[in-house]
Amino acid sequence: MWGIVGQRACRHGSSAMSLQGTRPVIHALRSFSTAAKEMTVRDALNSAIDEEMSADPKVFLMGEEVGEYQGAYKITKGLLEKYGPDRVLDTPITEAGFTGIGVGAAYHGLKPIVEFMTFNFSMQAIDHIINSAAKSNYMSAGQISVPIVFRGPNGAAAGVGAQHSQCYASWYASCPGLKVLAPYSSEDARGLMKAAIRDPDPVVFLENELLYGESFPVSAEVLDSSFCLPIGKAKIEREGKDVTITAFSKMVGYALKAAEILSKEGISAEVINLRSIRPLDRATINNSVRKTNRLVTVEEGFPQHGIGAEICASVVEDSFEYLDAAIERIAGADVPMPYAANLERLAVPQVEDIVRAAKRTCYRSSSLAATA
């Protein structure tokens, strides 16, 4: 795991982004201070929601099993005891209904956090996410904004079958009026969740079930209650100069492992953690590709019309002359997720696939082995 110390050093040295007027927290930290504390993504999310709920009484939580059950994945543990049933609402199994209720409450200035047990269930409520949340600010010409957060686990878990494993990043990211975030580490989870709750627009917050239990080091700055990450900025997790690998959510971990393997073979990979799917940080991606001249996009979802497709199009439009090799897209298999464990492993990208793809862009391998 790339330590927090190393990450700060990278950012210090990177000249890729020079945002004026964005939050100073990113540039402020120069000292590599005390030994980093570790925090799981679950605790990061819990603490972020807790702090925002205590800071603003208009924030409330709504979803199935968020209260007495302490959260289907225990993300909302302890919140019912702390804030009471008026602010942590256990709903009946009525996604369309309670999502719409959240949107209606947001019209009047409350700040709901609507939890979907998984984003697969959001399909029952997608009419409200798109039509009454995302489009309302536009249809009302700015009169009615919708400061709502839709959160929940997204993408494949382990052995849960086809109807519980789809990745919805590209579905929501294609819709104007929404902001779509996908955190990876605990720092991402805390910072992006706080930014999402404070944001006046509808935010789709895509978590990952398998990441909930993973621990990441967090600095004191991240633990501060006013810590926020900007929406629309990607993070360069690892600097490199030979090939750019973009990923989000769980695939960032895989990409980092792949980068380790590649570095032993002499290929220096730059790993970009997208963090924000909509708006996509095209500037960072393009600047990175202009530096390395090669690109591999990694995602867990279905390949057609996916995030990788959008990144490819963006790079081809903006940095065509800089590309030395065709862009490689690594995505999930173009099939509904199978149940059998070995088939599931084949249907989701693995570290070896990323390594192979990166080598192909560097012309180190000539085989046309199928990407998983």
């Binding site: 209904g97 719409g100 209720i101 947001a106 536009y138 009302s140 909509r278 708006p279």
Partner: protein
């Protein structure tokens, strides 16, 4: 809670468990005159439930007739009460001022919609336009009882709801013409009327979509009072929707949650018997929508939606109930739309006899008759109102005509409340900070 709806049309209370008949046991709450849905009365104001279906029933011997006669609840129509009382103004349902206000609002709705039809056929209005002719009593009867803080949520047939709530006619007309002076700057259109100032929360194209949003607005009212401790927060939300919507899942989900959490909302069903070309009877297993309220634990009321005074009586009770914190109510207004579903609908499936039957019960004429009979107004006062509304609507059209169309730069505006939502541009700065951001093509 007992006599809340006793003076009006049929109503059904949520019963304790183990009772099967819907309302027999409620007889003791209302006067004993039973209303037989198949008996026509001499006054045009009373009429059988689902008037036109009498023909269908005679033709097809459906079990519906059996079911209805066995479950008819105790009812006294307002007009029966009126006939029994002496003609003294102290017993009237409205004062002169209220009567004039109601009349003006209904005439505004009617003239506005007629003008919309004209403008559509002249090409000034385009897309989908759904007119409200014939249903004015429901909008006026309910919305004129609301304060400015109360909210209204509607469907695509929302022009008159917006007008009744107070959105100026010129703003609505400009919106329909797609001009930048419209209530949504031309970005919403006929089906998406929003007004923050007047608490009109839309305007939704999908049926059933507005119901959860309305429930959320009601939830906010309760949340503000209980969690944020704002003591005066008692605003009520009205959700208007049609008979077709009552078969949609979201409707039932919201009936459940509104009753569960006792939200200050009134669900107003504008049952005009037709969903485009689909008759309510062909689409619904039990067409008596008001009965669906008690199944979820709230009272269900059926009222004659062509009579603004009856609607107003029911509305007073329902809104009062919600404001007092007693929870939601389901009100079914039997009404009729004189025109087709939209201006593009040839309206061939409806029986002309049915249309004539309801045209004879035009809410505006009924109110006029009532006011004349009770000597509340004279002819000239009403004519003055007619003239005033005509001028208002004409002026609205002129205003809309002369207003400018939106600038190109308006295309990208208002997508996000926080415009940084468009992300980072190639120069590393937020795109919205680029002065040329909204010019040029829509590429972002």
């Amino acid at each position: 809670m007992a006599s809340a709806f006793s003076a009006t049309a049929k109503f059904a209370q949520p019963l304790p468990l183990n009772t099967t008949s819907s309302a027999r046991s409620q007889d003791k709450l209302s006067p004993p005159a039973l209303f037989d849905p198949f008996r026509t009365s001499s006054s045009a104001a009373t009429s059988p439930f689902l008037g036109s279906t009498r023909q269908l029933l005679c033709k097809s011997n459906r079990p519906l007739s059996h079911r209805r006669s066995s479950s008819s609840s105790a009812v006294v129509a307002i007009s029966d009460v009126k006939q029994k009382k002496p003609k003294s103004s102290s017993n009237l349902l409205i004062t002169k001022e209220e009567g004039l206000e109601l009349y003006e609002d209904m005439v505004l709705g009617r003239s506005f919609e007629d003008m919309c039809a004209q403008m559509y056929y002249r090409g000034k209005m385009f897309g989908f336009v759904h007119l409200y002719n014939g249903q004015e009593a429901v909008s006026t009867g309910f919305i004129k009882l609301l304060t400015k803080d109360d909210s209204v949520v509607s469907t695509y047939r929302d022009h008159v709801h917006a007008l009744s709530k107070g959105v100026p006619a010129r703003a609505v007309m400009s919106e329909l013409f797609g001009k930048t002076t419209g209530c949504c700057r031309g970005q919403g259109g006929s089906m998406h009327m929003f007004s923050k100032e007047h608490n009109v929360l839309g305007g939704f194209a999908f049926i059933g979509e507005g119901i959860p949003v309305a429930t959320g607005a009601a939830f906010t009212s309760k949340y503000k009072r209980e969690v944020l401790k704002e003591p005066n927060s008692d605003h009520v939300t009205l959700a208007f929707f049609g008979d077709g919507t009552c078969n949609n899942g979201q409707f039932f989900e919201c009936l459940n949650m509104a009753a569960l959490w006792k939200l200050p909302i009134v669900f107003v069903v504008e049952n005009n018997l037709w969903a485009i070309g689909m008759s309510h009877l062909r689409a619904t297993s039990d067409p008596q929508i008001y009965k669906k309220g008690p199944a979820f634990g709230m009272p269900g009321v059926h009222v004659d939606g062509m009579d603004v005074l009856k609607v107003r009586e029911v509305a007073k009770e329902a809104i009062g109930r919600a404001r007092r914190g007693e929870g939601p109510t389901l009100v079914e207004c039997e009404t009729y739309r004189f025109r087709g579903h939209s201006l593009a609908d040839p309206d061939e499936l409806r029986d002309p006899a049915e249309k004539a039957h309801y045209a004879a019960r035009d809410p505006i004429s009924q109110l006029k008759t009532y006011m004349f009979e009770n000597k509340l107004v004279n002819e000239s006062e009403l004519k003055a109102i007619d003239k005033k509304i005509d001028e208002l609507v004409e002026e609205a059209v002129e205003f809309a005509d002369e207003s400018p169309v939106p600038d190109r730069s308006q295309l990208l505006e208002n997508v996000f409340a926080d415009p940084k939502g468009f992300g980072i541009g190639p120069d590393g700065r937020y795109r919205c900070e680029d002065p040329k951001f909204t010019q040029g093509t829509a590429q972002v």
